[in-house]
Subunit: 159 residues, 4 copies
């Protein structure tokens, strides 16, 4: 976990440092063009968000589902592919929650290799109950662990 | 291959029918929430676009790369996840090119199961030479096979 | 579904024709060596077995689990990789149950492209209850749908 | 990298410690049975072998192919699935070369979680030239880096 100061949208960086999840890109991820297959990139970003949950609230998606009764299905993803991803360097995925709504959370994930930005994306998921799959706000203890990582406190207010 | 008349963006449908690629969603695609894992959805959409190439210009990505010297790396994807995807029904992926630029092409992919729209996305890729990975316009014979599938002729003009 | 008469082990073919599941191998499956990545091959074979279940007993793994209360976790797989798998031809996966024990089932899967045998493997799974994950014999109606596909009736006896 | 003293075959451990590659199993790897999908296990083992190459000879599969002109396609894999793999614990994959032939290498991979053996497999690959895909012995400097990791020196002799 280390700070990154770049923002894909050109906004000033928030005070909160991003969580950085390193991924070893492998032969298995690459296609005949000798770069990571496009379909692997969203999976890298999702893995980084899963790791963010574990690091930030102490529950990865598996435990959040099995032990806390929440799932966080995605309702949107948007990714710009900026430079090819290869096994030559570690892929550092910087994860930053951008906004916490009543029942949703928006993340930014920026993937970089050797200082070059490779992709930047936004991902929105909603909180649902594991049993019933109904939208629900996260409980207070989870919300309180997320809020300090938001760009600013105001973001937590706007549903 | 059959027509679909719905557009995710609310625009009037084009005259050109969409190409529909059916996918059998499987146990292997599902996560513990008993639905297809989020990371599988972009891969379903990409598979449908690959199938569109084979059906429309006679070359899938493998042959386009190996036999024609083109790759079509993606520069953008954006997906709205509308309803869960499950193995209960075939996933019909309707692919429609929205716009053909000088060196890029934008697709819409809408995935439906049993009449319910599950996801809708847009995907932009660029034409590059396999050797050198340089942007290049597609050759005329490929362009001519794509144009009739565009929403309207004007779209082919705007670079 | 069509018969294949070859056996990877050199045994005489059984009377029962194999179930053949066709797979379109794609760019997404290939690695920089321009062939399907090794790790994709077991997944192709598993997909073919899943399709065998749907065709033979009317329940794929998802429905077997959700609707009938069974899972069939694997306890063994063994695969010989004989020739590269590529997107040039359809991959025909011939599935044949070799032996049905009290609580287990052994399959042979042979993958061929354009008449060339690409891989041949054996896969053993056990029947367990979905709730509790305890070994259990399959119910009679499922057993009766499987037995006619065994190499010979005797195989069904030996637990 | 740390020693493991267990052998799946009950043989006395070799003097050479195994290379241990840790994998974080995730929600993305799990199926509706709440365990890692069978098709993910061979991919975990392959990832561990790829990591062994990087650690042992200084080239992972990507660099071995791109920078040294070798590929190591697999001709066989055999895996016993002993206990379910879950996201609850790190998956420690112990990789040990069992035998180095003239143009082939056999690996054992044992996957364990929290002290419980989850799977044990053997994997055989052959050395081929990247251009031409012809069987070839590895060059001396690579062979010399592998030999010290073999169970005993004699194994390196028998082709």
């Amino acid at each position: 976990m280390k700070p990154t100061d770049a923002r894909p949208d050109g906004l000033a960086p928030s005070d909160a440092p991003a969580f950085v999840h390193p991924i070893s890109v492998r032969w298995a991820d690459c296609d005949p063009a000798f770069i990571a297959y496009t379909g692997r990139i969203p999976n890298f970003a999702l893995e980084a968000i899963d790791a963010w949950w574990a690091a930030t609230v102490g529950y990865d998606w598996f435990r959040l589902n099995a032990d806390r009764g929440y799932s966080t299905p995605f309702v949107h993803m948007s990714i710009d592919f900026i430079a090819p991803v290869t096994p030559r360097h570690v892929l550092e995925c910087a994860v930053r929650p951008l906004r916490l709504g009543d029942t949703s959370i928006r993340f930014e994930v920026v993937g970089s290799q050797d200082g070059t930005r490779c992709f930047a994306g936004e991902f929105v998921s909603v909180f649902v109950t594991t049993s019933g799959f109904r939208k629900t706000p996260p409980v207070d203890d989870i919300r309180e662990l997320i809020v300090p990582h938001l760009p600013d406190a105001a973001s937590a207010e706007a549903g």
